[in-house]
Symmetry: D2
Subunit: 345 residues, 4 copies
């Protein structure tokens, strides 16, 4: 049994990690920390765990958590995570960091969007944890920077057309819609039921911090520097991200050929499903699962490819992907412990 710790486990991604890990046959969660809820049983903070775990939140030091564990999931806010990740890493532990702190390879870019980085040297050791693109590197690292939720949906959605060189890389627009759990469990007016239900809005238009992460990975795929328009929106649902992505084609292809390109690209992948030509994903087919569903078509009238990708932001967009990474890092079957079927209806 792999001994697992969750550092900063009282938010929704921490809870989701635990939700998945208590059913994972190959691991035992030995420590979950939370300053706010230190001393409180996890099952009191989240009654879903009633009768399923005796874990109690602790305010343990990184050192004492490192002593108990083989691998640690970091579920702290960005800026805070970077202070703890190096401690676990240097203690020889495997680390999967769910914050943004080790995703951006260029320090200057990180600092332009997030503020000062305290451990640029550790940054170099980190592997971007998107198994569909970096599986071998993930297998061989001890530090995974788990991708952001929006980036996961957009990068997986664009990888095939970028690798194939089919599109004008200056023309990419990603219109993304996310459920409210992406905003976390902090009590703020904008996340209240009465503010969200029945509403819908764009936010941080032209300025969301996931932009440099997305552009970094798209640029690698395109082998040239890319800039995109990325507009996040807040959906009145608890879970899920759906991204609608537009790009101008520079090759004359049909919708069927586009679908075939995607099917081939992701043929070996367990967690990416390509819709039949003419079909597009629905959030409700992925919520509760680790799948990324993708539909693609060609709009002949305008010469654009239109790609729609859907994930559960807390699973494939965060905690599920983190466990997928853990499975790869620890030599387990990649699907182990990850839910197979979405919860529908």
């Amino acid at each position: 049994m792999i001994k697992v710790g969750i550092y900063g486990g009282s938010g929704y991604t921490g809870e989701e990690l635990l939700r998945l890990l208590v059913c994972h046959p190959g691991v035992k969660v030995v420590s979950v920390t939370s300053r706010r809820f230190a001393g409180v049983p996890v099952a009191e903070v989240y009654p879903v765990f009633s009768g399923l775990t005796d874990l109690v939140y602790t305010d343990s030091s990184p050192e004492s958590v490192a002593d108990l564990t083989d691998i640690v999931f970091m579920a702290l806010p960005h800026g805070v995570s970077m202070e703890f990740v190096p401690l676990f890493f240097r203690a020889g532990r495997k680390v999967i960091d769910l914050s943004a702190d080790f995703r951006i390879r260029t320090v200057a870019t990180y600092e332009a969007w997030y503020g000062r980085h305290k451990f640029p040297e550790v940054l170099e050791a980190a592997v971007y944890g998107l198994p569909e693109l970096y599986r071998e590197s993930i297998r061989n690292t001890r530090l995974v920077a788990n991708p952001g939720c929006y980036p996961t949906s957009i990068i997986l959605g664009l990888a095939p057309v970028l690798r194939s060189g089919w599109i004008d890389t200056d023309s990419v627009i990603a219109d993304s819609k996310s459920g409210v759990s992406g905003a976390g469990r902090d009590p703020q007016i904008a996340s209240l039921y009465c503010e969200v239900a029945g509403g819908f809005k764009a936010y941080k238009v032209g300025g969301h911090r996931h932009t440099p992460e997305i552009e970094q990975e798209l640029s690698v795929l395109a082998k040239r520097e890319m800039k995109i328009s990325f507009t996040p929106h807040l959906l009145p649902v608890k879970r899920g991200i759906l991204s609608t992505i537009y790009a101008n084609l520079i090759k004359d292809v049909t919708a069927e050929e586009a679908t075939a390109l995607y099917q081939t690209f992701y043929r070996e992948e367990s967690f990416v499903r390509i819709c039949r030509s003419g079909q597009f994903p629905n959030l409700s087919s992925v919520v509760g699962s680790n799948f990324c569903d993708i539909g693609v078509t060609v709009d002949k009238r305008t010469g654009r490819v239109i790609i729609v990708s859907a994930i559960d932001n807390l699973i494939k967009g965060a905690s599920g992907q983190a466990i997928q990474n853990m499975n790869v890092m620890c030599g387990l079957k990649e699907e182990t412990g990850l839910p197979a079927v979405a919860l529908f209806p």
Copy 2:
């Protein structure tokens, strides 16, 4: 008192017309027809009207409705509406048609998207009922083709930048999201609560029938033929359409200048509100009202203008706009009988 009829009044747009008209101080609704519910009190089909109206659905002929009324709202499906509109029109009544049947000026275009048109000659008499663009023509016609919901949000969103010639007209992408009431009250699996709640999807990607209507009006504004990418999505809310619109700028402008352009363009309009620079609309600020709220910014990184517009699809996107048109046609103050404040929370 203006005597009003609603022909085909048992769907959501018919109900919304009645909901607004029973509070309108200048009109009296004298007839509401429905084949399905003929003989049933409106208040039984829609208990919101309990105690507020004694109207009973009838299966009256157009002739007998024409006899009773000064103006008729047609709330029939497209294809059906075109058979009845000419009867009222030729009987000398004012007609506001909420279907798509008289919105497309070119018969060939109509027929390419909708099927055969039976009264192309009446088509020529119709005025496209967007008061912000066609107020004078509406004042002088007896036949208004009330705009579609998606077109209203997109045309109002793009009019200022198209008229000003700021954008590359080949670059327009409209990513629109609509509440479920847009699908009407027909019982179909895709509109069931369990299929919609918690979900989100794109539909009719690249092929929605509102496309030619949108392109027709944008082309008038741009004074050149335009094609756009238009992707509708189904939001898990009852009411509202929010469109996020992207276009490449061909002029070097700031976000503040863009906002100023919009404020100037809509300065005289009662039902269009422009958000302060850096702010964007939320569906929940317009649902229940006849407003179209618009926010605009410039993404300097990519050279694009991004416009977000929001309406209540049943009010400004259908029945409210129809009443606004009636007010214009009948010489009433344009705001009469239209709700002032959205229902929030």
Copy 3:
């Protein structure tokens, strides 16, 4: 024009008062206070008011508000409200207090459930603001204690059978379900979208502070002291309270007779609608309106009467009822400025 102030206007009931009052033809809102948002335009805190009011929240003293106004709505939390109400009252203003501070006639009862009361002498001047029961007293007072939301639904639901002496007064059970706006706009975890959506729960079982208020009024109606079981639940909707009320019949009556009793009892009332026998109200028929809809039946198998009542908790359950009271107090037509039709769908 009556000059109106709202003291403590940044919560949902304050916003709802303003939402209704800006459309009220007989009043002008001259002051809205908020410590938290002093200096901020109301339309920034609540964008629904954009273009509709220039009001700015102030931190004005009661004295300066009293100078400007004829009538003041108090929308402060209980315990706080009692400190300000006497100032307005003694300054000769009409006051409608939306808190619980002046609803309980017996100081000891108030203090058993809420804590110390600072102005028991003012308590005696207050009239319980349920116009259907206390219209004449409301007309002649300057201090109205506006009823709680749950009490409104339960008292109106039980008044006919209590007055008629049909039921065993020891057998009453009220199972009530409320939308989330009842919890106010304070950011707290339990009111977050992700905690509420898709969920449902009972809370404060056997111990909700509305219990003594309900029992006080039921006891008046029954002319004997009553105790009831009252269980509130949190519904995943923004607005609305539906109460399902059970009592053992001590008289042999039919469902039709029960319906007739209710129709007679509320015959003269504008804002109470009785469903036809066999029909029961739906929240969606009252949300957005000032109606209380009531359905009643007799369960012959068990000898119980079952009553279902529905209101919009922010309108008939708070701000709409407050305006109804203002209309009565100021000699206006009781329906003035109150919305006629619920927002459906």
Copy 4:
């Protein structure tokens, strides 16, 4: 591997059975029938199954399904199911019937509520499939009548106080609230998103067909004939039933003693969790799981016990309980293949 068939598998309970069974390690689903969707892959009707099963709906005869299977789940409407159950039963197969057709032991009672029963003789062979009460009988039968969703929540909620003789059996009131999936996937206006979202209502007040099933089982527990008031309500959620149950105590007990009674009663049960004293369940802690969560308290003021029970209506209230029964009937560990943790948020 146990070979499983689902007869009538295109509704929500059929889909839920398949959703759970494709992850069940001890079974293989070999046949799923549907007249409506015969020939269509299951993954087209329900895209959640995309990539997870190659099953295609068939219109197979009972005989041919019986040939292929060891055990059959019947997910047909009541009245229809009774025509097919005897065929499988007489062919020697194990049968779990999710309809109401074999739940009522007395033919006269069945016929009073549902219409004529065609196979009263088979009725006698059926065991009521509530494992917490009938585990041994389930182990030894080949025909299980799987309980209704409302009955499961109410019977489990009342069993401890009825067995212990603590309550007045004439005083029981069950106020139940169910998610929309309980109404099935038939397209009907009342189940449309726009009719349900934001609303809430009671329905079939005093006349729901689950009443005799509930009373039958409560009477067994109480060892005397019981009648209850049972009021179902429609919650705007997809899944879940929460029942709030009231009864007059005939014994002087505390809330703590009541909680202790429940903990003892269900001590050995895997799928019943008792909340700590003073705590009550939330639907969101059980949705997606097979748990029944129960909270209980004593209202000293009125002498009543108040019990709140919560289940996922499609899992513990239907398909999950059916699989629990299958596990018992087939000698598997009772928890096999059933999801451990609810999906929260």
